[in-house]
Point group: C2
Chain length 232, copies 2
């Protein structure tokens, strides 16, 4: 399914229907349409909706116990003349070589919670249209703009935004000045932020440790940092 | 393997060797001992260490690409005349019917980062000796005391500690008084905190939302709340 991804389950497909994503087709068991899918929920009357058996659903689903419905959706194409050449003021997240699909989903969900304006993933990050990411993101993937881009180019093109890199040995975030208009840059789970991005970083920040744990999970670290940006 | 659990991979087994956990046996490829395992790393000279082939390792490992070594470890038995009857002052985490192994592991790791003194899981929570939890906890499981207990009994027996329940509609945590000596109570991923625990809760707190995401991941919420307790 080149250029497509799957959205699975009643709740997630309903959230999808309210998004701007282009749906290729919906495959559901008979009950789904009958009991809860009302026509006005669909933003597009041309929507292809195919009824299938529980067994057929099991075959196309990536879940062990599929939940009524699967949608096939177009992966959004990057726009020519990229929109990021000049970003508005706001809070943005940048993920450098993020590897784990569960982390990516959690980060997308967390970013939406804290009102992040958009997320930029380096081109060597995990595929965010992977079913594990889609599930862990809990619908936030449909609402928060996500882009794959060269992070250095983005920082370069948006000098009006400060870049805060998260490190193990940075300045204590609770003692740092945090600009409202900023990029929060998260590194790879094992190796942190790549050296090529160092020249773009204005502030090196850390979440202080109170115990002996070696590191924080990438999703948790993102949450704690974004919470602090928003608390101020 | 009744009463035992598995610890896998070079890094995690080394952290295990420095813990007080009782190791039943270590199974490793020849190289592991030869290149990096020095005898003084083992706290117990009686340790049973068996060399096996890569193929045998693959059979006992739960990983797709096992990493040199697997340890079989005794699950700690609860002590008779439980130690929690009167806890010291400190910060404690209580998890009510936590379901997801990845969340449990992340929460254990996060709790250690923020210097939580012990974690109490309700008896219907996920098995923390499940390989997914052990891996996600990244060694913190060996260093932070974890107990399965009736949470109501614990709160009842420790009236000197305030109970902070995390809710979707609680008081903004950034506007709440936070006691240094407290339980932070995290609810089930889908259903929140069970009604039976309501009478024990002194403060209902929330992490304020800035976007439209429906909820925070349990691990991220735990991290943001514990960070705020420690920041003060």
């Amino acid at each position: 399914m080149y250029g497509k991804f799957l959205v699975e389950g009643d709740k997630l497909v309903r959230e999808l229907l309210h998004s701007g994503f282009k749906i290729d087709a919906i495959y559901s068991v008979n009950d789904w349409q009958m009991t809860s899918h009302t026509p006005d929920e669909s933003p597009d009357n041309q929507l292809k909706h195919v009824f299938i058996s529980e067994n057929e659903l099991k075959k196309i689903s990536t879940h062990e116990t599929p939940n009524q419905v699967v949608a096939v959706v177009d992966i959004p194409k990057p726009k020519p003349g990229a929109i990021y050449t000049k970003l508005n003021t706001g809070l943005y997240l940048a993920c450098d070589e993020l590897n784990d699909p569960g982390n990516a989903g959690t980060i997308i969900r967390t970013a939406e919670w804290f009102g992040v304006d958009a997320i930029f993933f380096s081109e060597n990050s995990v595929d965010i249209y992977n079913p594990k990411v889609v599930n862990a993101a809990k619908g936030s993937l449909f609402r928060i703009p996500c882009y794959y881009e060269d992070l250095g180019n983005i920082f370069e093109a948006n000098r009006h935004l400060s870049v805060y890199g998260t490190f193990m040995d940075g300045e204590n975030i609770y003692e740092s000045n945090l600009d409202k208009n900023a990029f929060v840059l998260i590194g790879n789970e094992a190796n942190g932020i790549s050296h090529e991005l160092t020249p773009f970083i204005h502030h090196r920040i850390s979440v202080p440790a109170f115990g002996k744990a070696e590191s924080l999970n990438a999703g948790v670290a993102t949450g704690v940092v974004l919470a602090e940006f928003r608390r101020r």
